[in-house]
């Protein structure tokens, strides 16, 4: 109640506002028949308790998925878990709240004074990352509704050529960097806007969104989990965290016998083969490459920062205030009156043009501050990716790649070693 007080005062102030500007052109009637004013029924929003129940469901689902993937080793169980998450977080909660979008709430809260983040959004951001740090990407395996819908529709997995796979895997990094830049400058929530499956969850969306989602699902029948692999910005974070996971799903329940039966089964190219046959690049060559790329990382970072810094003015077009200022400037230059609703509303609002231009300048400044960091992040990620291509580790077993593995459990049934649990 105490917290609500300023808002109530604010509303009361607004009411005074009405009294001052007295929109009452016509006097309020004095009824003689004893007529009473009807009251408006204003439906209350979803109770706060339910938001916390969502968090509990998230934790429960993560624990269950972890158990199914790491201990029970049941692909069947993971599929049922996906069905549950798709039903609950997808169709019942309609894709909101989701961990993927929460990245933006966190960046908006970190870099803006006016925005306070709901505790549930913060928890949805952190809990899956904690699980990734402990057990790998169990969130992707059976909790994320976006992952679940793709997992369930990925029926005929086709392997992509390694070069295509590696190149496309760069896209999520760019998406994440741009999305954080847009969110932290309070411009827009890119990830939510282009969420491909939320329209399907709601069964109601602009048709372009439905078509985009349907096309992704169609492609996903063959190229499994296209959103997760080549777009998902939260996946980038999970990928990084999962690489350092304390425990992770294993292909074999006991010691690997190098039978090579699992070699080709992973649709995500996430199985690192054993290299007992030593077919990798000669160590001398890869060591040189390692050193070269290591030295090049600062250069990549600087290039990225330089590129994005110069792109800042274009990127700032994502902000509606900047767009409005540009429209007004064009209007001034050409003398043709703009019919854009934003321009009309701006003229009605009584704000001066210099105020608008100042605001525009400030926002572009924020883009200039943020974009080099986004660029440096991209450069460093690219550099580390190049380095990781040169690293040659001796392996005598088949292991999942901890960054890429979604813990989907497809490989379980191909391992001939059976251990009684």
């Amino acid at each position: 109640m105490k917290k609500a007080l300023p808002y109530i005062l604010f509303i009361l102030l607004l009411c005074r506002h009405v009294a001052v500007f007295a929109q009452d052109r016509f006097p309020r009637p004095e009824f003689e028949s004893g007529h009473v004013y009807p009251t408006n029924q204003m439906p209350a929003p979803r109770a706060q308790v339910w938001e916390y129940i969502d968090v509990l469901v998230l934790i429960g689902a993560l624990l269950m998925t972890t158990w199914l993937a790491l201990k029970k080793r049941s692909r069947q169980g993971l599929i049922w878990m996906s069905v549950f998450s798709l039903a609950y977080f997808g169709f019942y909660r309609q894709g909101c709240i989701c961990a993927v979008g929460s990245v933006q709430n966190v960046s908006l809260a970190l870099f803006n004074t006016g925005y306070s983040i709901p505790l549930t959004a913060l928890l949805f951001f952190i809990i899956p990352l904690l699980f990734a740090l402990a057990f790998g990407r169990v969130f992707c395996a059976g909790v994320c509704p976006l992952g679940a819908i793709q997992e369930l529709t990925g029926l005929k997995p086709v392997k992509l050529p390694k070069s295509v796979e590696l190149t496309l895997a760069l896209v999520p990094f760019i998406y994440l960097a741009i999305a954080i830049l847009f969110a932290s400058t309070n411009s827009q929530f890119l990830i939510c806007r282009y969420d491909p499956f939320v329209g399907i969850f709601r069964l109601d969306a602009p048709y372009t969104m439905i078509i985009f989602g349907a096309l992704l699902l169609l492609a996903g029948i063959f190229v499994n989990r296209p959103y997760c692999r080549f777009l998902c910005p939260y996946g980038v974070l999970l990928n990084i965290f999962s690489r350092f996971a304390g425990r992770h799903l294993t292909i074999t329940p006991a010691e690997c016998i190098n039978c090579r039966l699992c070699e080709e089964v992973c649709p995500y190219d996430a199985i690192i083969p054993s290299d007992t046959d030593q077919k990798n690049v000669a160590p001398e060559k890869s060591r040189k490459r390692f050193i070269l790329y290591f030295l090049l990382v600062p250069l990549f970072a600087a290039t990225g920062a330089f590129l994005l810094y110069n792109l800042a003015p274009s990127l700032s077009g994502a902000n509606s205030t900047v767009r409005l200022a540009r429209e007004i400037r064009t209007e001034k230059k050409t003398g043709i009156e703009s019919e854009l609703k934003d321009v009309v509303a701006f003229k009605e609002s009584g704000k001066t043009e210099s105020e608008l231009y100042n605001e525009e300048e400030m926002i572009i400044g924020r883009f200039r501050n943020g974009s080099p960091w986004a660029g440096a992040f991209l450069g460093i990620s690219f550099g580390i990716g190049m380095i990781s291509l040169t690293i040659r580790t001796k392996r005598n077993e088949y292991k999942p790649h901890q960054g890429k593995c979604y813990s989907c459990g497809r490989c379980f049934k191909f391992c001939p070693i059976k251990v009684k649990v």
Binding site: C15, F26, M42, F189, A205, K341, A345
Partner: protein, 189 residues
């Protein structure tokens, strides 16, 4: 040979532990940093009726069809006029409930005789599609007692409201969920 393996093993372990600490650090720092800014209550999206310019984009830009934003009538501000700018089309020949006279494209406003010379106008929420034509009419010629609000039984509370993103007058903002509405006639008896 054995010694060599141990050396590699410990180096790998070191890299892994260092990496783990490095990525775990933000997970601790971010909540600590945001502790002050974190609110236990969520937020909902709402239209500030005093900023709204009745552009009509609420109807088309909401992810829901029909839109979650609908017209609300502040009865305590209404003049109960016979010639109502929110109910009747501009320049009508006769003041009646004929469909050709009504401004509302979905016929969502009911006109009811109260007593001479007053008429009461009620919004049928089921029919209202949030086009804001009546709101504009009422604001232009009347007391401005009709106004737009986002109805929380329809609103899915998107992370970023797609009407808010395109609202030309920035009238839509996040407000605490325990307030939920910004009634125009708050405090009027």
């Amino acid at each position: 040979m054995k010694e060599n393996r141990n050396k590699y093993q410990s180096r790998r372990d070191f890299v892994k532990t260092a990496g783990k600490l490095l990525v775990a650090a933000p997970l601790v720092i971010i909540p600590v940093f945001l502790a002050e800014k974190t609110k236990a209550t969520g937020y909902v999206w709402q239209i500030d009726p005093f900023k709204c310019t009745q552009c009509g984009q609420c109807k088309t830009n909401c992810v829901m069809t029909p839109s979650a934003s609908k017209c609300v009538h502040a009865f305590r501000m209404c003049g109960y006029c016979d010639l109502c700018g929110g109910y009747l089309r501009q320049g009508v020949k006769t003041i009646s409930t004929g469909a050709e006279n009504q401004l509302c494209p979905t016929g969502a406003i009911t006109r009811k005789f109260v007593e001479e010379p007053y008429f009461e106008y009620t919004i049928n929420e089921e029919l209202c599609d949030g086009c804001a034509k009546c709101v504009k009419g009422c604001g232009d010629f009347g007391n401005g007692s009709l106004y737009m609000q986002i109805r929380h039984d329809r609103c899915t509370n998107c992370n970023e409201c797609s009407i808010a993103r395109t609202c030309p007058s920035n009238a839509i903002s996040r407000i605490p969920a325990n307030i939920a509405y910004l009634p125009k006639d708050a405090g009027k008896k």
